[in-house]
Symmetry: C2
Subunit: 228 residues, 2 copies
């Protein structure tokens, strides 16, 4: 069975890909060069796709920078904190308007070309940054729309399913699952604001959530953070 697997190169999407592979899917990994400041993640994605045996890894360019409105794509500083308890409530400035909608839409087009009926996305609605497009109700609505959007949907020959195996897992559970699946954590990159070399800052929302997961799981994260 073919599956399109959205892959940022971070912990969640990597675990998601590892899970899809374990379940026997032929995985077509899909990443986006969207003008993200943490462009380094595309290198991580490429290494991860290879290490997990994806059939192929495609990188699609989509210029979200042209729309602006986010610390990840515009000249706005990424907020830093010392501890995960300091994360501000509400939707943070690192939210990229409609990003998952755009990514899932492109995955849908790719799935249609491949005749793949499964799209894996590593969204998580427990230990996450509060992005609206990570919530289960969004995913359900997207899947419903997707089945009206495509040729196969109209002809009734196939159904697309949006697979979200991490949706209700904590970061702790994700780290444990990844370890069980044999994920090489050193290949992944989660930081929103890494150094040129890819070294993670340690203080952005994404780093803090990742570090919390490793700490709670009692595992050592092989990445060397700038902020200890």
């Amino acid at each position: 069975m073919k599956a399109v697997c959205l892959l940022s190169g971070g912990l969640d999407s990597t675990t998601c890909l590892a899970l899809a592979r374990k379940e026997g899917y032929e995985c077509y990994a899909l990443s986006f060069d969207y003008g993200q400041r943490h462009h380094f993640e595309l290198q991580a994605a490429s290494r991860v796709a290879q290490s997990l045996g994806a059939v192929e890894h495609r990188v699609v360019r989509v210029d979200l920078r042209a729309l602006g409105g986010s610390a990840l794509t515009a000249e706005i500083d990424v907020p830093k904190h010392n501890h995960v308890s300091e994360l501000a409530p509400g939707i943070p400035i690192t939210y990229v308007p409609a990003r998952n909608t755009v990514f899932l839409s492109l995955a849908l087009g790719y799935a249609e070309v491949l005749a793949a009926e499964h799209i894996f996305i590593g969204v998580n609605a427990i230990d996450y940054s509060g992005y609206p497009d990570c919530r289960p109700e969004f995913i359900e609505a997207f899947e419903r729309m997707a089945n009206l959007a495509t040729k196969a949907g109209v002809e009734g020959t196939a159904r697309v399913r949006i697979e979200t195996p991490l949706l209700r897992l904590t970061k702790l559970q994700i780290v444990k699952l990844a370890a069980e699946l044999g994920v090489d954590f050193a290949l992944t990159s989660s930081c929103y604001d890494p150094q040129e070399s890819g070294r993670p800052c340690g203080g952005c929302d994404s780093c803090l959530l990742r570090r919390k997961g490793f700490a709670e799981a009692g595992l050592t994260d092989p990445l060397e953070y700038v902020t200890p």
Copy 2:
């Protein structure tokens, strides 16, 4: 009131923009450089946006060619016919997988950045090519999903509406409406396979539907087709 208006530079999207302008919207025109063979349409879109007084015209690059699967973005010939009655039943090879889903998703991101609550798209489910993502049930499902995807949707501060004023008009009605709105037809470009100069082929689905509209309306299309 702000509106994002999807603008290909063709007859339908131009009429849609003219209508939004007439209704008093501040229009932010949005076009896509998606690897289309009829890249000329972006020049048309730019001229149309200016002539209709859009606040701005943004062109976002999204590489749909990387996904393939369509005569509009891959090395597949665009089918040509002599008359609109010859159009093949079913979904044609010019269908671009998930194109409107991708375009509306990017429009959604732009609307979120602008705090615009209206997205205009010139889809039409009467005289059209049979694309799944032009149907009313698709548009409704997209709107529902869109209101779960965004910050404003989550916070309950705003609702996005997908405006489709041409949805149930025939090509004849669209041509008449455009004429009433004072659209300069010479600025528009509908052809899927134009010459370098932009001169339309006259035989692709899009040319045939356009010509049918003008013929039925008893109006002269100022464009000079290669096939008479």
